[in-house]
Subunit: 325 residues, 2 copies
Amino acid sequence: MKREHMEQINTATKAVQVKKNINHFYFVACGGSMALMMPARYILDCECEIPATVYTANEFVHRIPKALGTDSVVITCSMRGKTPETVEATRLAKEKGALTISLSHNIGSPLWETTEYPIHYDWLDEPDMTNHNHTILHCLIFKILNAIQPNEKYERACRCIDKMDGIFKANIEKYSSKAIEFGANYKREKVIYTMASGGNYGPAYSFAICLLMEMQWINSNAIHSGEYFHGPFEITDADVPFIIIKGIDKSRYLDERAYSFCKKYTNKIVLIDAADFDMKDIDEDLKGYFASIVTGVVLRGYADALADHRGHPLTVRRYMWRMEY
Amino acid sequence: MKREHMEQINTATKAVQVKKNINHFYFVACGGSMALMMPARYILDCECEIPATVYTANEFVHRIPKALGTDSVVITCSMRGKTPETVEATRLAKEKGALTISLSHNIGSPLWETTEYPIHYDWLDEPDMTNHNHTILHCLIFKILNAIQPNEKYERACRCIDKMDGIFKANIEKYSSKAIEFGANYKREKVIYTMASGGNYGPAYSFAICLLMEMQWINSNAIHSGEYFHGPFEITDADVPFIIIKGIDKSRYLDERAYSFCKKYTNKIVLIDAADFDMKDIDEDLKGYFASIVTGVVLRGYADALADHRGHPLTVRRYMWRMEY
C-alpha cells in the first residue's frame, strides 16, 4: 500500500482512538460504494462490541437516525466524491457532532472537502490492487479494531493487507476460464439471481444491482441465503439461473444449505466457493474476512466475460451521466 | 385490541422499562416476518437514541453479533412459532443475557416456549385487524418508546391503534378496483419490481419476496428508492413494470424522485401513494408511521387480484411445506 494511503488511514484511526464513548458505527454510501461497506460492517459486527449499520446515503440524510450524534463514527465513500447524497450525509453527520471518515478516489472532491478524515484510494489505473477501495477499507477497519481493542489478530490482519494484490491476481487468473464459460452460457438470460450471506452479501448485492442491472440491463436480485427458504426459493425452476457464493466466514452453512437445495431444482447454477480461493499466506482465522473482497474481484471477471459475450460493454449507460435525474 | 394481547404487550414493555443500559434493539425474523419488523425498526430509528437493526434469523444465529449481550433487547417473530432459525435466534439471545420478546400466532409453539415475553397475534381468521401482527408490533414499539422516554406523542400513538381496523378496511375498499385493474393488466408479466423507502421498504420487500416470488413465481426485487439511481434505474425500460410506494414519512422525497424519473421511461408503473390513504382520525405527526402498515394491507389486495387473474392461488407452493429443506 502506498505511504499516502497508510498515513491517511493512521490519521483517521487515531481520531477514532481518542474519541470517548463511541456507541455506533454508521457506514453510509450509495450503490456499489454501499455494497463495498457491507463486508467491513460484517467484520465490525463479528469483532466489536459497538454495533454497526449500513445505510444508503439518502435514507440516512432524510431519516436522520436519532442515535446519530457525538458518540457516532460515520464512514462514507464515493468513487468520484461527488455523489450528492453521500456528501450531504457526511455534512449532516459532522453537523451532528459525529466523527467523519470518507474514502474517495477523487482528492479535492466535494466529499473530500466535507469530511474530517479523507482517505484516498486508487482505482483501475493503478495496478497494485492493495491501493483499491476494498483493501483500503479493510485496512482501516482492522486498524480501528486494533486501536479500540488491541489484539495481535488485528496486527496480523494489517500485515495480510500487503499480500492481497498477489491474491487478487492469482484468483482472477484461477477463475478466468470459468468466467468465460459463464459469459458464453448465460449471455441470453433475461434474469440472473445472486445469492450469498455474511461478508459476501455485499459483493453479491453489488453484482446484482451494478454489474447485472446497471451495466448489463439484466434483471436481478441479490437474495440472502438465509432468506432464500422464506420466500425466494419458490422462484427456483430448471431454467432460472443463480450465481451462488459459498463464503468461508461464519454463515457458510447458510450458503451450503441454499446451494444444496437450489442445485436439485435448477440446471443453471454457477457456484463460486471461497474455499477454493487461493488465499496463500493469509492466516486461517482471517481468511473469511479477506475472501469477501476476493469474491468481488472474481465476480468482476464474470461481468467482464458476460459483457464481452453479449457485445454490451460495462461502460454503456442509457441514463446514468447522460441526463439530469 | 383484545385484552389478552394488551396484557402481554404491557408485560413485555415493563420488562424493557426496568432494564438498565439498553444499547441496542435487534429485530430478528425470516422472510415476511422480517419484513414486518422493518417499519418498527424505522420508528425506533427515528424516535429513539438507542440504535436498532434488523437481521434475518440464521445470519444472526451464525454471525452472533459481538454486541449482543445483557444490554440488548431482541424482538423476534414467527407466525407459526416453528421457524427453527427464529427459535434458535431467540434461544441464543436469551443465553447471551438479552431480553427477549417474541410475537407469534401460535401459543405454546417452540418460539412461545423459548422466549421470555411472548405476545400473541391473530391472523386472517380474526376480523378485527387491530389484533394482527403489524398493529400488535406497532403498539409494542410505541409502548416501549413511551416507557423509556415518556412523551404524549406515544400515548396518542397508542390511542391510534384502536382506529386501525377501520382504516385498514377503508383502504382495502378504496383500492379494490385498482387492485383488480392491476391483476388484469399485469397477469402476464415475468418480472415486477417494487420500490419504496423509509417505513415502506418492509412491505415492498415482503411483496417482492413473499407475494410475487414465493406465491406467484414472478421474478422480483425490492429496490430501495434511494438506491435506484445508483444502479437499478438502468433496468428501467418501456416494458419493465414497477410498483412504487410513495410514503408519507421522512423519505418521501426519495420515492417522489424515483417515481418522477421512472414514469418517464416505463409505461408500466403502478403508484401507491400513501398521501391518498384514508387515515381518518390519525394524528398528523403519526400518519407516516401508520401508513407503512396500511401499505402492506393494500398491497395484499393487489396480490389477491393478481393471483385471481392468473389462476394461481396464493396458497400454492412447489417446495415450501412439501419437502425437507
